[in-house]
Amino acid sequence: MMKSSNGAYDFTIPRRQSYAAILLIAYKLYKVLLRQLLPFLLIFLFGGSLGKKDSLMYYVIGIAILGFIYSVVSFFKYYFFFRDDKLIVQKGVFKRSVIEIPFDRIQSINFEQNLIHRIFNVVKLNMDTAGSAGSELQINALDHTLASAISEHILKHKSENAVATEEGQPITESKKQVIFRLPIAQLLKVGITENHLRSGGIIIFFLIWIWENLKDIGMDVMEKMEEYAPLAEAISTSLVIIASLVILFMIVSFIISLVRTVLKYYGLQMFRIGDGFVIESGLFNKREHAAKDHKIQLVRWTQNLLQKWSSIYELRMKQASSMEVSDKKSIQVAGLEWEDIKMTEAYLFKEQHRELSAMNLHSVDPYYRFRRLYYWSVIFLPLAGLLVYLGENKFAIAAFAWFCFGVVTTLLSYNKKRYGISENLLLLKGGTFGHSATMLQLFKLQNLMIESTPFQRRRDLASLTLFTASGQVTIPDIAYDKCLLMKNYLLYKIESNSESWM
């Protein structure tokens, strides 16, 4: 390694990672390959025809060697160095690419060590740039001292620029203030009004998954079933039994989602601490989530049909993250009443929350319905026709039913779609059977996209998509002129703003 006599590193010279990186790259590659190819391997191994197993061995060895060569080449093509307060990485085996990251954009630096790292006494450097997924930077293997030196160098630069400390630090207990508490009775209400279809769906997929996997390793459930032929016959002939199975299935779905909800939201409390929210809940598995106001990019409340009847709401606040936005990064509260929603908005948007109620809401162009109906009919009607042609009448009926479902949801969702933009906020309302609303602060937008299909252009319409650091929002089918005007206004809001969006 290039190290001068006084122990300081010269980071301006391009350098490679520690040689242990070759193993780590290969390890990562093998893991991915194994995961992708595992089903094929299993089928090969259990699928009979013993003669093929020898050739399989050659394939495995061949792929392993190719993978290792790839790892070596990619190691030798990987360089990193510092220039002008930027970290620069050059890499790529087939595609050469250069990544430049200004130190200011690096949010945090973590070291990681798995077993291989420990054996070679190296660390993996993770740099979170708060960019999109995949834009965070990893250096696979570095000597521990070098890694610390790099981290120190970058952090020193950042501390001069006085960057705010990371979230999740315990804030003084004294200012903790309970703003919402979910009583037991309300908790049961939340459980009962859950979307039971979802748990039903999960059960069905689980059963299908088990079925397919048993089939793959050579156990055909159908064959086993035929051993119990008299029983199967009784089932297929007796409608009563089918009906009771359906009811049983519904009851099981209901109980599962009720139990899940109670376990998840038991003892739910929402606190206000300083300029952030903390959520606490869970029966056995108590979890605590924190979100600072400035990290929250999108707020969304929803109300399904059952919740609408019992007038309770679910609230989600999505935080910025460099990973794909997962539920872990969003704060979720259930069983809220309208006043609680209003209160949260007031905390989050400060005085600006008044703009929400004063906002002029517009509906999207009626053409929205037809565009969606075209797509539904183009996909499902020919599919149903094809299935009838192939003699699969049951599936044809299913396809047609799905089409009808699409028609109904389209009409309902058009009726509820409304959007409004004020001085600082954007509000998008929607829903099919229930209601939903998404809110965001305009200066937290990242970029914008206008899209149009040939059919939209014939009617002078376009769709506007707004991207934030925790998801996107689309306002479909609005007049093209209006779309441009809104885009210009939003861009002005973004570009004239110097407040940090997170």
């Binding site: 307060d85 930027k86 087939f94 595609k95 050469r96 690419s97 250069v98 990544i99 430049e100 990251i101 200004p102 200011d104 954009r105 740039t129 708060a130 960019g131 999109s132 997924a133 995949g134 834009s135 001069e160 620029n161 006085a162 910025a320 460099s322 794909e324 936005v325 937008l445 990242q446 970029n447 914008l448 996209m449 206008i450 899209e451 149009s452 299909t453 040939p454 252009r457 991207f467 934030t468 650091a469 998801g471 996107q472 441009l484 005007l485 885009k487 210009n488 206004y489 861009l491 002005y492 973004i494 570009e495 004239s496 703003n497 110097s498 969006w501 997170m502």
Partner: protein
């Protein structure tokens, strides 16, 4: 460094995106696109031929095989038409505070990336692009994969110039509240 100002501006006076002059991509990028299409078509043709001749003759009905060929044939024609027509509609415009890229022949889209939201910028070169001396500029924002902007078919010189320009802009924005450090750097 200029003092920070934030004057109220009449929205109707803002520079309109629609009056911009767009820069087309390098002409030879069309060739790159067509070559990529040809390679893709050859690979799929080879796979389909293999499938038809060798393995699945008994297992998959003839109807389905014919169907696949017809579908692939139509898809190929559509693919080439889309590639050639789509190329003419790919263009970009650089403004003081953002970069605009538009593409699409029938299904059009236009993305705008404000510089004060850019996370980082990179230049990519695929093997075919390298042969044709072309580069692809990628602009990453925190808006997620769907919003990352990628401008292909630039000459490496233009790509580098654009990158330098954008990186300089993003650094300016970052340092705005920290005027002192900017001064230090000038020494």
């Amino acid at each position: 460094m200029d003092p920070f100002t934030n004057e109220q501006i009449d929205v109707s006076q803002l520079p309109k995106v629609e009056t911009l002059v767009y820069q087309p991509l390098e002409d030879r990028y069309r060739t790159v696109l067509i070559i990529s299409r040809v390679i893709f078509t050859l690979i799929v043709t080879a796979l389909l031929t293999f499938g038809t001749l060798v393995q699945f003759e008994e297992k998959i009905p003839q109807k389905v095989i014919y169907g696949l060929w017809i579908f692939f044939f139509l898809y190929t024609i559509w693919g080439f038409v889309k590639t050639v027509m789509g190329f003419q509609h790919k263009s970009y415009a650089l403004r003081e505070k953002d970069l605009i890229y538009r593409s699409g022949w029938l299904w059009k889209d236009m993305t705008t990336a404000p510089f004060n939201r850019v996370q980082h910028v990179s230049i990519d070169q695929g093997p075919i692009e390298r042969k044709f001396n072309l580069a692809k500029l990628k602009i990453y924002t925190a808006g997620g994969k769907a919003s990352d902007m990628s401008i292909p078919g630039l000459s490496p010189v233009t790509a580098n110039e654009l990158k330098e320009f954008i990186v300089k802009k993003t650094m300016q924005v970052t340092e705005l509240p920290h005027a002192q450090i900017a001064d230090d750097e000038e020494q």
